[in-house]
Amino acid sequence: MTNDFSIIGKPTAMVDAAEKTTGAGKYTDDLSVPGMLVGKILHSPYPHARIRNVDLRRAEQLNGVVAVVVGKDAPNPYGILPVGHDEHALALDKVRYVGDNVACVVATSEAIAEKALELIDLDYEVLPAYFDPEESMKAETDLIHDNKPNNLEKDYHHVFGDPDKGFADADQVAEARFIANEVTHAAMEPHSTLASFEIDPHTGKPGRLTVWSSTQVPYYLQHKLSLVLEMPMAQIRVVKPLVGGGFGGKSEVIPLEIIAAIAARKAQAPVKITYTREEVFWAHRGRPRTIIDLKTGVKNDGRITAVKARVVQDGGAYCSYGVVTILYSGALLGALYDIPNIQYDGYRVLTNKPACGAMRGHGTVNVRFAFESQLDELALKIRMDPAEIRQRNLLQPPCITVNGLRVQSYGLPECIEKTVERSGWLQRKGKLPKGRGLGIACSHYVSGAANSIIRSDMPHSTVNIKIDRDGGVVVYTGASEIGQGSDTMTAQIAAEALGCSLARVRVIAADTDLTPIDIGSYSSRVTFMAGNATLRAAKEVKKLIAAAAAKKMGCAPEELMFRDDVVRRTNGHVGTDAFVRPAEQSSAASVSGRVEGQILRGSLQQKRKDEGPKDAMTFEEAVVAAIDFHGALTGTGSYAPPQEARGGKHKGAGVGPSPAYSYSAQVAEVSVDEETGEVTVHKVWAAHDCGRALNPVSVEGQIIGSVWMGMGQALTEEMIWKDGMLMNPGLLEYRSPSSVESPEVEPIIVESIDPEGPFGAKECSEGSLAATIPAIANAIYDAVEVRLHESPFTPERVLAALRAKKNAKALNLTEGIDPTRPSKFREHGGALWFKGKGPDRHPLDPSRRETASAGGGAD
């Protein structure tokens, strides 16, 4: 199939690869402008407190300090969701987590700014704080936000079909509580923003603002800056330099992005703020700790009859993307398997910790861990192979699921088939030596949300293409390259559609002054949406070139084929698109008697006179002809998801629908050390249906990266909290896997050719993550017959489960330790931490009262 294309489907180095491997490429923190000052932010030491008084005098007097900014310098609230405008760039009257932003010092050097932070005098009134979502939901006083009773950000209750009847019809029912602990993106590049005002030549006063920032969505940043700074959006330019990884952590406006602009305004000079790694952990917006009470029923033939899920998410102190996250958790129970009856109760709860937001696999990952684990338990109960029970519950697309999701292309059957085959599942499952096992799991994800978070009729992506007489193709796109290959995808699609070489295409991306609005790089939307917009823009330009070239060649535009920098007549064969042209038509073109290399620019006129209308022109010649003919050569394409893909009518139906879903099936091979509880992943086979692989090397990289990040969440990564303090705010302590702990991942590309994707492509960067965690959990069960209900599967948890199975007394590694003065490091073991009492706890703190009655924090 891929032979029909000249650019796409071939492994291609990213268009910015050399910038990245030589160090020449600029990320935000690499930029500097003349007169630039440094900003440093003061963070709250308390999880929940009222600010009684702020005294900036000592800080302001320090030599080298230019300005000190506080909340009242920009008091407008904002938030990424229109329903969640609950944040202030700097706290106005209250701080809500350890690390909340209080003030910002602008100084001539980092050292002076840091010294000045210590000179800011703050008087706090400490309030009771809430750290556990289930505790927080009982709160009646000292609410985190006054307008959110019971600290409940949002709850949803959905019923599709008849779950009660479904469970009554089931032959086997399983019910359990699963917990997935909190993880964060930990992108390698810390957030950084540089803000600079220009003086308006007409008024003589500060005018336009330019912001360079490590963001996944320049448009949202421009939007929120306008809101907080009370400036028209047209006066704000947001530029995205190279971004060192996002994974969702840069998909919303992070406080420093706004603080830098406020600071630049007050200091009357350009200001750059770059977070330290610890601040990045506080900024967070990662995947919330999630408590899932899951019940699933199946018939003896493996068919799922009903699913009931109650999901509680520990959302942290602000709304962030929370309402969307809790909806995804329910909505994406559908569209993977055929489930006739679903009941979903989702609670997004506020706690005094950094806000959680969107992270790779947004909303679906933790619930998928629970669901796929439970499906294996049910397979065991009905004595069915775990791969087979998944095959028994496939959808029959095209279809609309019970919760209103439209499914068209569906490569899941082939994904399962291929992983089973490559991993030797049928021969090896259950036959490996004790302590070693195989596990299977599936997952899926949206190729962009069908409904944007800011409701409007605007297209989700728009792309402009300009070609000038030199034959250079410039593509202007708002899509944000964050390392996933967005710019390369854009160049590939433009080059393929125009039949020109990749080197001809230059991509100008993510600069709100130059590029049309695009809602950015998140929810895996770029290839599908910005790709489609690029394709449409290229087709429009191509139409203009074809009209002029056809006139010169004396044929109909439909007869022309664009490929490899040549526009050629095809002797009346049908089809206007070079990229769907079968092989025999290319050969028909080559027997036209022309040797393309002999057509030289200078001799063109002569040749035409000699031979009459010719059969081929170079791309440059065709472009010149088109500009002579039309005056200019530009094209615009935009994309908005079709109405049919936008979901049902129930409350919350807007989240979950997508124009297309990607599918993944994985087999993990692990071994478990029964003495230490240590789990080692040896290999993961991961098949992913990406519609069509536009750049196979990137698709494989995205699959491997997703699986690897899933493995991190499954085994080691966890944000450990004590009294609202993050215990591990460093890259080593957070334990993101290094090369030594990382297994071989065998990516298997499955192409289902989506009817609406650009060249049939869908997403490939997130969908694989969710399957890895349950595949490892299921493999652990196969290895040592213990079912783990809480991630990550640390040695402590695995060992506890192994000892429980043998009816041995659990090892309590922290028994007898005073949590306020630990003499050795306390691994909190998930749910236990909140029972501790900290030195600065308010006397009325609910968890402190409980500690007193429970007697010293021992569990």
Binding site: M14, T21, M188, G483, V697, G705, G730, S739
Partner: protein
């Protein structure tokens, strides 16, 4: 703090810089000399994004005093390209997907250079052990191994041609 004048030899060129004695090499490279290829990903030698070669040995410049590097040969990512073109390892990282967001890439390439200088034919275990000093959050490392293998092959071919 009073500044002192030191001379640093970086990528074959000498630079005189006036720095505070407490200045870290990474800050001097990035802020004084505008050599921003070396990155800051953490502040405590956790991630390796700031790796440079000091007398051929991979070191993390975020926790190295610049003044202590006087008289030593410093190589940064800016000094890796050969004759204005990509070195084999740089080309291979691009071709095989060893770099995605690219933020960790300079550090990894310096680590690989140091590894290959010491051990021109490393086993996969050697490569894994060497790379474990650096963190990447995008690639899962798999495609880096392919890139390194292909760079070794390319280097050998290049040497064979040169002979």
């Amino acid at each position: 703090m009073k500044k002192e004048l030191i001379e640093l030899r970086i990528d074959g060129r000498s630079h005189e810089v006036a720095i505070e004695p407490s200045a870290l090499l990474l800050d001097v490279l990035r802020q004084e000399l505008q050599l921003t290829g070396s990155k800051r990903g953490c502040d405590d030698s956790s991630c390796g994004a700031c790796t440079v070669l000091i007398d051929g040995v991979a070191m993390m410049s975020c926790t190295l005093l610049a003044a202590s590097c006087e008289g030593q040969v410093i190589t940064t990512i800016e000094g890796v390209s050969e004759h204005g073109s990509l070195a084999a390892i740089q080309k291979a990282y691009g071709d095989w997907g060893g770099a995605q967001c690219g933020y960790c890439t300079p550090g990894f390439i310096m680590t690989v250079k140091s590894l290959l200088a010491e051990n021109p034919d490393p086993s996969e275990a050697d490569v894994r052990a060497a790379l474990s000093s650096n963190l990447c959050r995008c690639t899962g490392y798999n495609q880096m191994y392919e890139a390194i293998r292909s760079a070794i092959v390319a280097e050998r071919k290049g040497l064979a041609v040169a002979k």
